[in-house]
C-alpha cells in the first residue's frame, strides 16, 4: 500500500523556474545614480541618530561638573546655585507617574476591552468613540493643560499646582496612547482562544477576563510603560497648572504641592546663572536615564513575555 516516493517533477521545475526568473532589482543597483540614492537614504536614517548622540554627549559634557550626590539629594537653592539639587523634582515626578498610572491605566484598559471585545463596530456611537480617540491622540499637550486647569476649578481646588492636577492632565494626555496599544495587544491574541472558551460555555466577560486579557498582559504593560515614559518628560501641561519650581520639601500625597523634573529643567534653562545651566544639563541626563530605563523595561517585557501564535 505504500506509495513510492517520486519527486514531484512538475513542482520542482516550477520552483526552479521561479527562483531563477524572479527579479530583485539588485543586479542593477550598482549604477552611480543608485549608489548616490542609497547614500542619501543612509544619511537620512543616521542623521537622527547622530543628532541624538550629539545631544547626549554635549549635554553630558555641559553637566559634567554636577554629577554628584547633591544633585539627587539637595533641594533647589537660589542663593547657592552650585549646590542646587533635584530631590523635590525627582520625587515629584515619581508621585506624578504614580497618580497618572492610577488614573489612566484602569480607564485605558477598560476602554480598550470595550472597543475590542464588546463593542458592535457598526453602531454610530462606537464609531464616534474610535474617531474621537484618533483625534485626541494628536491634541497638543498645552490644550490638555488648559483642560486640567478647568477640571481642577470644577472640582473646587483653589491651588491647581498639586500632584492630582498634574496627574489629571497627564492621564488624559496618555489615555489615547494606552488605549491604542492595549487594543493592538488584544488584537494579537488569536480568535481561536476566544472561540474555544466561548464554546465551553464561558460568557464574553469570563472569556475576556480569564483568557484574552492574561494573554495580552505583556503587550499592555509595554504600551503603558511607553505612555508613562512620554508623560514623565512633559512640561507644558504642568506649566499651565502653575506647578511651583522652588519647592523645598518632599511631596507626601496626591493633594501635596510639588514640582517635577522637566519643570525644574525648564526653569533653570531660563536662568542667567551658568551654575543653573550646568545643573539643568545634569538633570537632563537624570531624566534621560529615567526615560531610557522605562523604555528598556518595556522592550525587555516585550521580548521576554510576548508570545507569538
Amino acid at each position: 500500500m505504500s506509495t513510492p516516493v517520486i519527486p514531484d517533477r512538475a513542482n520542482v521545475a516550477a520552483r526552479t523556474a521561479r527562483e531563477t526568473v524572479q527579479a530583485t532589482g539588485r543586479g542593477r543597483d550598482r549604477t552611480p545614480g543608485s549608489l548616490v540614492f542609497l547614500g542619501a537614504l543612509w544619511f537620512s536614517l543616521f542623521f537622527g541618530v547622530m543628532v541624538l548622540m550629539l545631544l547626549i554627549v554635549s549635554t553630558a559634557l555641559d553637566g559634567a561638573g554636577r554629577f554628584d550626590g547633591a544633585l539627587l539629594t539637595n533641594y533647589f537653592s537660589r542663593v547657592r546655585p552650585e549646590e542646587t539639587g533635584f530631590r523635590a523634582g525627582i520625587l515629584g515626578s515619581m508621585w506624578l507617574m504614580l497618580g497618572t498610572a492610577t488614573l489612566a491605566v484602569p480607564i485605558g484598559i477598560a476602554s480598550a476591552l470595550y472597543l475590542e471585545e464588546f463593542a458592535d463596530r457598526h453602531r454610530w456611537y462606537n464609531r464616534l468613540i474610535e474617531l474621537n480617540l484618533q483625534n485626541l491622540a494628536a491634541v497638543p499637550s498645552v490644550v490638555y493643560g488648559l483642560l486640567a486647569v478647568a477640571t481642577m476649578a470644577l472640582l473646587g481646588f483653589q491651588v491647581t499646582g498639586i500632584v492630582l492636577g498634574g496627574a489629571i492632565a497627564l492621564a488624559l494626555l496618555i489615555l489615547p496612547v494606552i488605549i491604542i496599544t492595549t487594543r493592538e495587544a488584544l488584537r494579537a491574541v488569536p480568535s481561536e482562544i476566544r472561540f474555544g472558551s466561548l464554546a465551553l460555555g464561558a460568557t464574553v466577560w469570563q472569556t475576556t477576563w480569564r483568557q484574552t486579557l492574561p494573554a495580552a498582559v505583556p503587550g499592555i504593560a509595554t504600551g503603558t510603560i511607553l505612555g508613562l515614559s512620554r508623560a514623565i518628560g512633559e512640561a507644558a501641561p504642568l506649566l499651565l497648572l502653575g506647578v511651583a519650581v522652588g519647592v523645598r520639601f518632599d511631596p507626601n500625597g496626591f493633594l501635596s504641592a510639588f514640582t517635577a523634573l522637566p519643570m525644574q529643567i525648564y526653569n533653570m534653562t531660563s536662568q542667567p546663572q551658568a551654575e543653573f545651566q550646568t545643573a539643568a544639563a545634569a538633570a537632563i541626563i537624570v531624566l534621560l536615564v529615567m526615560i531610557l530605563g522605562m523604555n528598556t523595561l518595556a522592550i525587555v517585557i516585550r521580548n521576554k513575555f510576548q508570545k507569538t501564535w
Binding site: 527579479a23 537614504l41 463593542a119 512633559e234 507644558a236 522637566p262
Partner: protein, 321 residues
C-alpha cells in the same frame, strides 16, 4: 446535564412543544455581563467627555473674550500686545505666522529625512536590520521636548548656527527652533510612511523588477506613488505635532511677538504664548487670562482640521489594498 434530561423528558410526551425546542445560546439575560459591559462603555466614554470638556473649556472664555474684542481685529490684527495697560491690541497674526514659519522649517527637515529613512527601512533593510533600526529611530520621539529646547539653546544656536555656519542669528530664533523640532518629528513621518510603503503589495515591486528596473527606480516610481496617500497622512500628522509642540518653541524661538518671515529673528509661537502667559499671575476672568483660552481654541481648531485630513487620507489608503 439538567437541560439534557429535561429535553429527553419532554419528548416522551408531557411538554406541548418539546419536539420543536432548539438550543438557544443568546437568550438568557445575564445582569452581571450587562453591568460589566456598561462599566466598560462608561470608561470608553471618558474619551468623548474629554473632547466635550476641551470644547467647553475653550469656548466659554472665548465667547467672553469676543464680547470685548471684535473677531476681525483678532484674526487679522498685526499687533499682539495683550499686556499693554493703555491700549491693548489683540491681533493674533504674529503668533500664527511664527507657528507656521517654525512648522515649515521643521517640515523641510523632517519630510526628506523621514521619507529617506522610511524608504530604506521598507525597501532595502532586511527584517532583522529593520527590527533593530526602527526602535532606535523612535527613541528620537521619546526625548522630552524640554530637553530638545535646551539642546537648541545650548548647542544648535551658539555652536552650529553662529560658529559653524556663521549665520547672523539672535539668541532666540525661529531657525534653531524649527530645525530641532524637525528632528523631533522625523520618527512620526518615518514610522507612518514606512507602514504605508510596506503595505504596498509585493506584486507591484516584482512587476517593476521584471521590467528591468532597479531598486531605486522601483522605490521612487512604483512604491512611492502607490503609498502616496499614506505618506501624505504621515506628513500631515507630523505637521500637527509640530504646530502643537510647546517647549522647544518656548525656549528656542523666544517670547516676543514678532510678525516677520525672517527665521533668524526671535518670535513667539501660539503655544509659547500660552505657556509663558500661564506662568504669570493673571486674575481669572481678565481679558489677558481669556486670551490663553482664545489662542488655545485657535490652536485646537487648527490641529483638529489637520488631524481630520490625516484620518481621511489614512482611510483612503487602507481601502486601496
Amino acid at each position: 446535564m439538567a437541560a439534557l434530561m429535561d429535553s429527553t423528558g419532554s419528548t416522551s410526551g408531557s411538554g406541548p412543544s418539546g419536539a420543536q425546542r432548539t438550543l438557544d445560546l443568546g437568550g438568557r439575560s445575564r445582569p452581571g455581563e450587562t453591568l460589566i459591559k456598561t462599566v466598560l462603555f462608561t470608561c470608553a466614554f471618558v474619551s468623548i467627555i474629554t473632547t466635550i470638556g476641551i470644547v467647553i473649556t475653550l469656548i466659554v472664555p472665548t465667547v467672553e473674550f469676543f464680547s470685548e474684542v471684535r473677531p476681525l481685529d483678532f484674526l487679522v490684527g498685526t499687533e499682539w500686545k495683550p499686556n499693554d495697560s493703555v491700549d491693548p491690541l489683540y491681533g493674533v497674526l504674529p503668533l500664527v505666522s511664527a507657528t507656521f514659519l517654525i512648522t515649515i522649517i521643521a517640515l523641510l527637515v523632517a519630510v526628506p529625512l523621514g521619507l529617506g529613512a522610511a524608504m530604506y527601512l521598507s525597501e532595502y533593510a532586511s527584517p532583522r536590520v529593520r527590527r533593530r533600526l526602527k526602535p532606535t529611530l523612535e527613541l528620537l520621539a521619546g526625548v522630552p521636548s524640554v530637553v530638545y529646547g535646551f539642546f537648541a539653546l545650548s548647542v544648535v544656536t551658539p555652536l552650529v548656527l553662529q560658529d559653524l555656519l556663521s549665520l547672523d542669528v539672535g539668541f532666540t530664533n525661529a531657525l534653531s527652533a524649527g530645525l530641532v523640532l524637525g528632528v523631533m518629528i522625523i520618527p512620526t513621518v518615518a514610522s507612518l510612511s514606512e507602514d504605508a510603503m510596506s503595505a504596498v503589495p509585493l506584486a507591484l515591486r516584482q512587476g517593476s523588477f521584471a521590467m528591468g528596473a532597479n531598486r531605486m527606480q522601483t522605490t521612487l516610481r512604483v512604491v512611492f506613488p502607490a503609498a502616496l496617500s499614506g505618506i501624505a497622512a504621515a506628513i500631515v500628522l507630523g505637521l500637527s505635532r509640530a504646530v502643537g509642540e510647546t517647549m522647544i518653541v518656548t525656549l528656542a524661538a523666544g517670547s516676543l511677538p514678532n510678525l516677520s518671515a525672517n527665521p533668524s529673528e526671535g518670535m513667539q509661537a501660539m503655544t509659547a504664548y500660552i505657556a509663558v502667559t500661564a506662568g504669570g499671575e493673571n486674575p481669572v476672568g481678565s481679558t489677558t487670562y481669556n486670551t490663553l483660552f482664545v489662542v488655545g481654541a485657535l490652536l485646537f481648531a487648527i490641529t483638529l482640521v489637520i488631524n481630520m485630513i490625516s484620518i481621511a487620507l489614512v482611510r483612503r489608503y487602507r481601502q486601496e489594498y
